[in-house]
Amino acid sequence: MKTIAIYNIKGGVGKTATAVNLSFLASLDGANTLLWDLDPQGAASYYFRIKAEIEGGGKKLIDGSTDMEDAVKGTDYENLDLLPADFTYREMDSFLEQTRDPVNRFNKLLKPFSEEYDYIFLDCPPSFSALSECVFAAADILLVPTIPTTLSLRTYQQIIEFFRQQGLDQTKVMPFFVMVDRRKKMHRLIVQHPPSFMSSVIKSDIPYASEVERMGVHRAPLTIFAARSRAARCYTSMWDELRAHIYAMT
């Protein structure tokens, strides 16, 4: 099982769109795939027509009173399951801090899935928190969607700096560019010549496209309703690249 987290401190950078599209593409390979919607806003759950609600709330999930496997819902797509969001996830940090060792606890929550799933995707909320520290430790790959602007690059730099300070494995951090608008000179320059601190940037970038926004209307991954769109093709080539990287890891 490989755990792939999609994370950024910033909101509105396409984390959920990435998590939904990549997890769907992984399931198309025949891989048993689980997407955990960790964001209390529950956008990923919404995209899959699944109610953003966990019986007993997030607290019981974290303390083990609710069986994680019972909370999983099948999506409309074979091989792709979802662990839905819950509004109480907004207090996730406090739930985790109530445990003796939050990082260990979070890993233990994922462990029962290791037999059943080939991939777990974590759609993370935008924050630096106890939860994000758990995610950093649990993930095999941390995908960081980054808009090619100065401020976004600075945010990415903060993540890398945090990894360095905490002695975490920086090689698992993989940035990629999103909402790329090639009409803008700055976007073009940054995508073509990423700064040196973005050492393992994924080559495929995701364009700024209205289809991505329409995912909310169709409540489905891009491949389902706009398979020929540029954005869908970009996500496919991004998954191809990522999959090759994962096989090389194993």
Partner: protein, 524 residues
């Protein structure tokens, strides 16, 4: 919650449209596009995966291939995500659990597509009030081809109901609905083994036990020795035929092994037949099989050496090991050349004609009296006489054994092999337990002689490489290999001394005398 699904066999008298109509009338259903995919079951020539309860399958929907593997009968069919195509050999896979599991079952055998099925799938989804899919249903029609020239036929029709996680109640309702249908036949839920493959085997009349190198014959001691020998040769010709295509492909070394053993046994049987039925034709066939043996020798010797070479890695530092690459390349190119010569022969009309004529000769004579006035020998008479006589030859040759003389040992090995094959031909005539003990003693001696001979030949190959190479590093590394080979040859020679002593001991020989008592009794 593990994946829940239940399959039903749809009988011939139940129409699919009526089933679908009834489904639509009872549940809010979404029809999905029809898909066609192929399911190919891979296995070895001798069905090692099937017999082990393992499975290696490819699902091909025309766009992509998905490869599934089940390690044993209790395991779960699991997708192999890193794999784009089925390897020819387990050794072609990257190191890892899958390779290890596969190798432990198929060893060096090649994988072949054994069963191919086409499936027409009509899928439906049951929706809830939010139009969310809560249950999936697949109506599958499995097609198979009875043979290449005949049109595809329906193998079976299945309905599979699959639960969607978190919607157990919806699944239960749909499942109960179909359970109540009297015509549908539910398949066992717990079964991990899909019986589609078994059905396909039955439909195509394929037996997984069709291949065996065993020569177990029920022998009546009083029947004609000629008839028995002919029957044995016919069986061995069949083994040769079954392995010929694999020898021509040249990837799986086991085909060549079985093919060559069959040739050697045929030569031994023909030799006996010639004494009973002295005809010029038999001598010609003996020369033919002898030349086949010589042609295939280099391929087999090089295969054995290349496999053996890998075992020497621990004797080398990484750099030294890499310096052996020119030797490996030399062996590979020698093998390719030897294989080419052999394939040319196996595809020749001369080869086909010889085998056809021999088969014809054996089958024709099998029917009638062919003694031409000679007194007919019974199989028991022949067996007693020959086994004892060859045993005596072994002991005679053994008197002049010199461990450093590879040629003498090679001759002794050939006589031992002759004895072993004759025991195999005639084992139905003797007490099984005692024969087993004797065979084991023989195997021990032969293993030691075999290793002695292999190492001697391999050292010869390395010497030939050194003589034509000007790569100093490669020569140095090859000399190290040569040293190991010589050492192992000496050790095998020493082991042979012990195993031969056990065989020629008065205790073993006494048992032999008891076994061949009839002939021995007549002679003494």
């Amino acid at each position: 919650m593990p994946d829940i699904q239940h399959s039903f066999v749809i009988p011939d008298n139940q129409s699919l449209p009526s089933l679908v109509s009834s489904l639509k009338a009872s549940f809010p259903v979404q029809e999905q596009a029809e898909t066609v995919y192929h399911r190919v079951f891979y296995d070895t020539f001798d069905w090692r995966l099937y017999k082990n309860g393992s499975a290696l399958e490819v699902y091909d929907d025309g766009k992509s291939q998905k490869i599934y593997w089940r390690a044993d009968k209790d395991g779960k069919l699991k997708i192999q995500l890193g794999l784009r195509k089925i390897p020819r050999l387990a050794a072609d896979l990257p190191a890892g659990e899958f390779r290890q599991q596969l190798q432990s079952v198929i060893t060096v055998r090649e994988l072949l597509p054994r069963i191919k099925l086409r499936i027409n799938r009509h899928s439906y989804a049951v929706l809830d009030e939010n139009k969310k899919i809560v249950v999936r249903l697949h109506f599958d029609v499995y097609w198979y081809e009875p043979s290449r020239r005949r049109a595809a036929r329906v193998l079976t029709r299945r309905l599979t109901i699959k639960a969607v996680k978190g919607y157990a109640k919806d699944y239960q309702r749909v499942e109960a609905y179909f359970q109540a249908m009297p015509l549908l036949m539910p398949l066992p839920i717990q079964s991990t083994q899909d019986n589609v493959m078994k059905l396909a085997l039955i439909a195509t009349d394929v037996s997984t036990d069709e291949y065996s190198t065993s020569l177990i014959l029920r022998l009546d001691p009083e029947i004609s020795a000629e008839q028995v020998l002919k029957e044995i040769i016919l069986r061995l010709l069949e083994i040769m035929r079954q392995n010929t295509a694999g020898c021509i492909r040249g990837r799986d070394t086991e085909y060549m092994h079985d093919y060559r053993v069959a040739i050697r046994k045929i030569r031994v049987a023909l030799k006996q037949l010639r004494q009973l039925e002295p005809q010029a034709a038999i001598s010609d066939y003996m020369s033919f099989f002898s030349s086949l043996g010589r042609l295939s020798n280099p391929v087999r010797d090089l295969d054995v050496f290349m496999l053996q070479l890998e075992a020497y890695q621990p004797h080398f530092e990484q750099e030294g090991w890499q310096q052996l690459q020119p030797l490996r390349d030399y062996l590979l190119s020698s093998r390719a050349a030897a294989q080419k010569t052999l394939v040319k022969e196996l595809k020749s009309s001369r080869y086909r004609e010889n085998l056809k004529n021999l088969r014809h000769y054996l089958e024709q004579d099998e029917a009638g009296d062919n003694t031409h006035g000679r007194p007919e020998r019974t199989v028991r008479e022949l067996a007693d006489e020959k086994l004892w006589a060859i045993n005596q030859s072994v002991l005679e040759q053994g008197k002049t054994i010199n461990n450093s003389d590879a040629e003498t040992l090679h001759d002794l090995r050939k006589t031992f092999k002759q004895l072993r094959y004759l025991i195999e031909f005639f084992r139905g005539l003797y007490p099984a337990v005692e024969l087993r003990v004797l065979s084991q003693t023989l195997i021990d001696v032969q293993d030691d002689l075999g290793e002695f001979n292999d190492r001697h030949n391999q050292a010869g190959m390395v010497k030939a490489f050194i003589e034509q190479s000007d790569d100093e590093d490669a020569i140095k590394a090859s000399e190290q290999i040569m040293k190991i080979l010589r050492q192992q040859q000496d050790e095998a020679g020493r082991r042979f001394n012990t195993s031969y002593k056990a065989y020629s001991s008065s205790r073993s020989q006494k048992k032999l005398k008891e076994m061949f008592v009839e002939y021995y009794g007549r002679k003494n």
